[in-house]
Symmetry: C2
Subunit: 428 residues, 2 copies
């Protein structure tokens, strides 16, 4: 590749960013992909790391390794601090800059607390591998502490798990924690009966899985209740503290609270100095560029995009991938001097699992639920994992969970060892 | 189990502690096993986590899960703060106490800096899962930073890896890092040639693997050199700083330094107020108890034990296991009123690997080296892993490394994302 080839800088190696790179294979361009982390993360299975079912390395891959066969691509582990639109360069954390001819921002989103950032320490969200190991540690430590606790009230609080938000992530977390308590752990403890643990799923809206057909929502709620999850609908949470959760007019003592209620886009809109919607997403044109700068694309969870019917495109992996493909094709077309067509989102369907044997799938034209849907869900996710080794490894883990209720990753790490907990420091 | 049965408290769920529990199956006793961590760790493979070859969950298991079928055993996640020998109770971090009839201390060892604790931040050691992910992060971040570094000197320092101490752990780390740089990583980077990385193994003594036969030591040294490791023998390290290492009259600029030179026993001797050797190990009687207290056993890396020939018993897993078996048999014998025989260590052999295809094995009566020894080493370690799933999973990983040079766990986690590195805090 010559140094004078069209240079594309892609920020973010999630589904959108990586798909852009893949689709540009063979194009007459140079690519630099920048990410703050060294790994691409398969977020749809992140809740399984948080619930001790999978290991971190089974759902994350070093970005530069994924792109090792692409001499046209340079991978940088770096944090972007801003974009200079006029000079056409990205500013990096070490003070250096990366000049671009075309810029693709695919920096994703973080969980958001709707103006209540003070809730975060008590109700961590789930977006990164570190988030997942933090939540895993909290869940496992709660059971450990309950085993040692003699005070009845405190023990009950330790055995109360609250999940806020009943989208797919909230439903998957609630179902899996309930199974952990009811199937995986009971024989391991002597002083407590882990089956007595309460798992409470709180949702401000009127139903779980609001993005799905109403029948599937109802089925999901009933399935969760059958697993032992208490589902509280139509009650917004009004506070998260060290003691637990306030919702409606109730006060619930809970040692473990997990936030699955909302996301906020990365600060790309600030970098660009352009309009953002309430969730911080950049409002883009029909071709996913920002007004006045056709050389700057914003895609995935960072962008507010409408589908042909005027509804917002959901923040899911297939949508980000479609946008990545569109951006790559648009860049190729431009280099050939072709006119671009607007982006059109095609919704293939929505999937969510409820525990280890049930799922709901809403393809629009057909709706599936139950064990058969779970098998489709499982096969689809194994198919989309990267690498034969990971597919085998995840399949092996699921087989063990399915047949023996053994979860392989019940490790309390990263935190302090027991007894060091007093030592100050918010290090997680 | 009745509350009045003989109560054994075991502190530490390493090889020694767990073996004691296993060997006491069916004995007329109650057992409480206490550990600061929730997992038993297969330490012989810890270096493979540190070098991105295995995931943490493949070599660690929740203690209470391992003992789920033993209703006579209670597992506590707790930190011991002291022992009251007269009242016969162990003091725990939460202020509570655990009374015992027999106490077994099997609390292991940490790496030690021989009076230079200020070296630790610059030269981390390898004893826990957190140590391993810390070292893995440092190694991987060094390559990432080198890829972005334009200054030739700083880049060279980033690509210099120093391992201090040429026992089995040091040899295994050096060999694996050399392979990482020479086989696994080259195609993943664009600006650096990872094959130019220097891996330097520094040893104060006159040979590598001093515990092995001299022929095997020489073979290991030559094999390491063939892998590209620079072996420096007979030179003690005189300093570790943020810039690198001082040894002999040399000053070596290195971003990554790993300590594999010495261990210090856990503070069991202080808890007991008894004599310890230079490495902090409790000096025990022939029956592994402390003087005047036949009800207190100290085993594994925490104890200084001599074998029948008067040589110190090595700090390896098989030795700890033999001691665990001995203690369990001794307790059983006492409950039957039998006299106890002294502990006799039987050395089965020493093993060490050099990279992914060579090993040395010193059985005493026969010495093996090369690829055949590696296969024996690999099969032995897979055999000793706990659980069918883990055996399959580790075998799968090794197959991939062996045939494709792909290492599955190249994740930079736990630390800050790039660009957040400046943010103070020694959180690791």
């Amino acid at each position: 590749m010559s140094g004078s080839a069209h240079h594309i800088v892609i920020v973010g190696a999630g589904f959108g960013g990586l798909e852009t790179v893949h689709r540009l294979r063979g194009a007459p361009v140079r690519i630099t992909i920048i990410d703050r982390r060294n790994h691409h993360l398969f977020q749809p299975l992140l809740y399984q790391v948080a619930t001790a079912s999978l290991a971190t390395s089974e759902i994350a891959w070093p970005i530069r390794h994924l792109l090792r066969n692409r001499p046209d691509v340079t991978t940088l582990l770096a944090s972007v601090t801003g974009v200079d639109k006029e000079a056409r360069q990205v500013r990096l954390d070490d003070g250096s800059t990366a000049p671009y001819d075309t810029l693709v921002l695919a920096t994703g989103a973080r969980h958001a607390y709707f103006g209540h950032d003070d809730w975060e320490p008590y109700a961590p969200g789930l977006k990164t591998l570190e988030d997942a190991t933090t939540i895993r540690r909290r869940i496992l430590v709660a059971f450990e502490k309950a085993e040692r606790e003699t005070d009845v009230k405190r023990r009950a609080a330790l055995l109360t798990f609250v999940i806020i938000g009943a989208g797919p992530t909230g439903v998957e977390l609630a179902g899996t924690i309930a199974e952990l308590a009811r199937s995986t752990l009971p024989r391991d403890f002597r002083n407590i009966d882990t089956r007595q643990a309460r798992v409470i799923l709180i949702e401000a809206g009127e139903r779980v899985l609001a993005g799905f057909d109403k029948d599937l929502s109802d089925y999901a709620r009933k399935s969760l209740e059958r697993l032992g999850v208490e589902v509280e609908l139509g009650v917004p949470v009004s506070g998260c503290t060290a003691e637990g959760v306030l919702y409606g007019d109730k006060k619930l003592a809970a040692a473990t609270v997990i936030w699955a209620a909302g996301v906020q886009a990365s600060p790309a809109a600030q970098w660009l100095g352009v309009a953002a919607d309430r969730a911080g997403r950049v409002v883009v044109e029909a071709d996913l560029t920002i007004p006045g700068h056709p050389e700057i694309f914003v895609i995935g969870d960072t962008a507010a995009v409408l589908n042909p019917e005027g509804k917002p495109v959901p923040g899911i992996a297939p949508a980000a991938k479609q946008q990545g493909r569109y951006v790559a094709d648009t860049i190729r077309g431009r280099l050939r001097g072709e006119r671009t067509r607007p982006f059109r989102y095609k919704h293939d369907g929505s999937l969510a699992t409820i525990g280890k044997r049930l799922a709901v799938i809403d393809f629009g034209w057909i709706k599936l639920r139950g064990a058969f849907a779970w098998w489709i869900w499982g096969l689809a996710h194994i198919y989309f994992l990267i690498g034969v080794r990971n597919r085998l490894s995840v399949a092996l883990n699921w087989l063990w969970i399915y047949t023996r209720d053994q979860r392989s990753s019940r490790l309390i790490t990263q935190g302090r060892a027991a007894g060091e907990a007093q030592r100050s420091a918010p290090c997680r």
